[in-house]
């Protein structure tokens, strides 16, 4: 019987205690903000949209290899010895044309693993976090500044160079072979003449 009245009392009292707390909160200022109008200032280390400063990129492919979800695709073409690609801002010499540098930001998991291995600090995460698109394909960012025809040209250049080199190599090899053959023939001749 005693428990009965204790229950009644506790029921009413704890409800009143709770009501006092919520009533108090009725007059405390809200902690939420009006998001698109007001924005929280982001800390400096914030990790959001990836950005690549392609001018500094040397096309070393380290970021792509570090990525756990394979969202970075890089294609490079070797430059011709005659072409000067300049240097990066921290003084590294560039030797590759970056014909393709695509980041599929829809796949990106914002782990920042690609940022650390970069030797020229050209890939980094920015504080932009509003980049929704209507089309999924718009989420694939192309960072390469080369136009398709330009990159085709570079490829063709390199291919030509490669072919030339190969031809040279082939010619050299041929020449060497011929020379070898000649030499061998001469030796043979000498040998045969000796034996005679």
């Amino acid at each position: 019987m005693r428990q009965y009245f204790i229950n009644t009392w506790e029921g009413i009292w704890t409800v009143l205690v709770g009501m006092r707390i919520t009533f108090g909160h009725l007059f405390t200022p809200a902690v939420t903000i009006q998001y698109p109008d007001v924005k929280v200032p982001l800390p400096e280390r914030v990790r959001n949209r990836l950005y690549v400063n392609i001018d500094d990129c040397i096309g070393c492919d380290q970021c792509s290899r570090a990525c756990p979800v394979n969202c970075i695709e890089i294609e490079t073409v070797k430059s011709l010895p005659t072409e000067d690609l300049g240097t990066t801002s921290n003084g590294k010499k560039k030797a590759l044309w970056v014909t393709k540098f695509d980041i599929d930001i829809a796949k990106c998991c914002y782990c920042q693993l690609c940022v650390f291995p970069c030797p020229t600090d050209c890939i980094y995460m920015t504080d932009v976090y509003e980049f929704s698109e209507y089309d999924r394909n718009d989420l694939i960012y192309n960072f390469s500044t080369l136009k398709p025809e330009e990159s085709a040209e570079k490829k063709a250049n390199f291919e030509k160079l490669r072919l030339e080199k190969e031809a040279q190599k082939l010619a050299a090899a041929k020449a060497k072979e011929e020379a070898d053959a000649k030499k061998a023939a001469e030796i043979k001749k000498e040998d045969s003449s000796k034996t005679e």
Binding site: T8, G11, T22, F23, H25, T28, P29, A30, Q34
Partner: protein, 355 residues
């Protein structure tokens, strides 16, 4: 009001029609304001802002939502019982709407001056149970069925303490008419029933604490009757998804919604009418002071609505504070706590009234 209207229009039929419309004119804006208020109260109690976008501080949010609900596609599942499914929301609304017929908004503004007002209200609100049961059963959804059956058990059980408390007040005031009851609690707030009525004697002193208990019991059981937290079993969100109205959408859902909020005000208004002086002002009338008869009516309407709104606010306040009881505990509270207390209270009030 009916008499005045039939004189005005010269035909009792038109008068009946018009006086039936009047509460709707009140209910729809009330619901819009109450929903807005609910959201704002919830928001600020939870350190949020609540709706802020539509209009100044989101004041038009519920209007926008109302239109959205009207536009929505009325989805009906294929395996439901169509007849009951379609009727149920309107039946629920009719039940809560009927209550307004006997509510005295002011001394002259009330739908019907029936002598058994309280009795009518109790009977009419029973209609809601039928509507909810129909909705739950016809939805052909296990969650809806659970919600509906819980609700039926709950509302029927909680009628008992409600009626016992009403009985004790009726014993004290010797009338079943809400209009008459409100009239008796005239002038200042110490004349309200909760403070022992208008007569100054020993009875008043003795009866006051018991009247307060009666009010508390009435308020708690009325919460259960309108399915508000902590007794929102039928639609217990975390268990039954949305209870009996899981399958409803669009306009039919908004009928349930309308009924719920209409009910909230109705029970608060009944509590106000039988305990807290109804439409009577707590400090006398300015209209009487300056001799303007019409002003008194306006004041009465103001006091009635603001008292009612206060208790609607308390309902919201409770909702955003408390967890929900379990279905068997709900019954325990009713049968083991409220009913015994209200019986004892009834007997004590009876004895005091007899002295």
């Amino acid at each position: 009001m009916f008499d005045a209207l039939s004189e005005l229009f010269g035909s009792p039929i038109i008068a009946a029609f018009v006086s039936a419309i009047v509460p709707l004119v009140f209910i729809v804006p009330f619901v819009i304001i109450a929903v807005y208020m609910e959201r704002k109260v919830a928001g600020h109690m939870q350190d949020r802002l609540g709706p802020m976008r539509v209009g100044y501080h989101g004041i038009l949010q519920t209007v926008a939502d109302f239109f959205k609900l009207l536009q929505k596609e009325d989805i009906t599942a294929s395996s439901i019982d169509k007849r009951f499914f379609n009727v149920a929301p309107f039946l629920v609304f009719a039940g809560s709407y009927a209550v307004y017929a006997a509510l005295p908004f002011t001394s002259s503004m009330l739908g019907s001056k029936i002598d058994i007002g309280l009795f009518f209200i109790v009977a009419a609100s029973g209609l809601v149970v039928a509507g909810i049961l129909m909705a739950g059963w016809s939805s052909n959804n296990k969650y809806s069925l659970y919600g509906a059956l819980r609700s039926a058990a709950q509302i029927v059980s909680y009628e008992i303490p409600t009626i016992i408390v009403i009985l004790s007040v009726v014993m004290f005031t010797r009338t079943l008419s809400l209009a008459e009851m409100s009239e008796m609690q005239t002038a200042y707030f110490w004349n309200w029933n909760i403070f022992g009525g208008a007569e100054w004697n020993l009875t008043k002193l003795l009866i006051t604490p018991f009247m307060m208990i009666a009010f508390l019991i009435f308020y708690i059981s009325s919460l259960a009757e309108v399915n508000r937290t902590p007794f929102d079993m039928p639609e217990a969100e975390s268990e039954l998804v949305a209870g009996y109205h899981t399958e409803y959408s669009g306009i039919k859902f908004s009928m349930f919604f309308l009924a719920e909020y209409a009910n909230m005000f109705a029970v608060s208004a009944i509590a106000v009418a039988i305990f807290l002086g109804g439409y009577q002002s707590p400090f006398g009338y300015v209209g009487n002071l300056i001799g303007a008869e019409w002003l008194v009516q306006v004041e009465q309407l103001f006091w009635f609505i603001s008292k009612g709104m206060f208790f609607v606010f308390v309902q919201m306040w409770l909702r955003w504070t408390l967890p929900r009881v379990r279905v068997d505990q709900l019954m325990t509270i009713c049968w083991k706590y409220l009913i015994p207390y209200s019986f004892v209270n009834l007997i004590i009030i009876g004895i005091i009234t007899l002295i």
